[in-house]
Subunit: 183 residues, 2 copies
């Protein structure tokens, strides 16, 4: 699979990953990569989709298992996301701050892939509680964006443990999430 090769060379070379190096890592040549996966932008999109899938899967394993949604679950969501991102540092960097001109779309696409399910979850949860639901989408993007930048910062020097950081993030937003119409 070309995408696996791409991930390997990105993990190795960081953002300097060229189509050509990916091609040789995959054991083929450039036009083949182009034929299989399309342009560089589509490659980045595909990688972004995969990473998003992994994030969602990891989060789902935490959140989906319990039917409840509480502060602990939220912190677990953050922790699993942080750890997944930390396990794919270079890929995360490549995908979020990758090259190319298409980047606004891709960043939004990647974010949307995570924010969508989160927004659904929030919508269901707040509907059940009889709370206002219009905030679900912006809040989902807010939480994902928070996670994005904090991950970047966390990756790039500070080595506090993931679970501590996750708990701090949960502390920041939990009260807001939980505060209902009964303000």
């Amino acid at each position: 699979m070309v995408l696996d090769a791409a991930e390997r060379v990105i993990a190795r070379d960081g953002n300097g990953a060229s189509l050509e190096s990916i091609a040789v890592e995959a054991g083929v040549t450039k036009p083949v990569v182009y034929a299989r996966v399309g342009s560089r932008a589509e490659l980045s999109n595909a990688l972004a989709a995969r990473l998003a899938e992994r994030l969602i899967a990891a989060a789902g394993a935490e959140v989906g298992s319990t039917s409840r949604f509480d502060r602990i679950t939220l912190a677990a969501f953050f922790r699993s996301s942080l750890e997944t991102i930390g396990a794919h540092r270079e890929l995360f960097l490549y995908v979020t701050r990758g090259a190319s001109d298409d980047t606004p779309e891709r960043t939004l696409y990647l974010a949307g892939r995570s924010a969508g399910p989160l927004a659904d979850l929030l919508t269901r949860w707040r509907t059940r509680r009889g709370d206002d639901v219009a905030v679900a989408v912006p809040w989902a993007y807010a939480i994902i964006g928070m996670l994005n930048l904090v991950s970047l910062w966390w990756i790039d020097e500070h080595d506090r443990p993931a679970d501590v950081l996750a708990d701090q993030l949960a502390e920041l937003v939990w009260s807001g999430l939980a505060a209902g119409s009964h303000r």
Copy 2:
């Protein structure tokens, strides 16, 4: 000033802004740009610094005027940031999702420029209230990151008014910020 020319051409051409087009807009040639401002990465950095300065200035005008710090102030901070970003759409896109390989550093640099003062503010505020202060830095990054992605999403299709969105963001984090040690 070369940077002004750069902003003009970015506002016009979006991310397709090449050094050459910036040079002709500035009325000079490429090596001159290179001599004055350094590499493309440094150009992006300088632009990022300027945008951060504007954001901080706008935020300071809102937050710094009142000595208090409450939900209203927080919402005003979000609103002014959103509006500043909205007024510099293309520049914001260029700077956050710009080209090049240096991007992790630059993104962090830009974010840090905003997150730093915010972290200071949070630290002072929570010190005065006798609350834990270790969360100030991660929270500052969290809030800036939130703002980043929400801005991207907001710019790119949804036209709800800035003040509504700002209020929703404030609602999300205010309780968390305000919740003290007396959990």
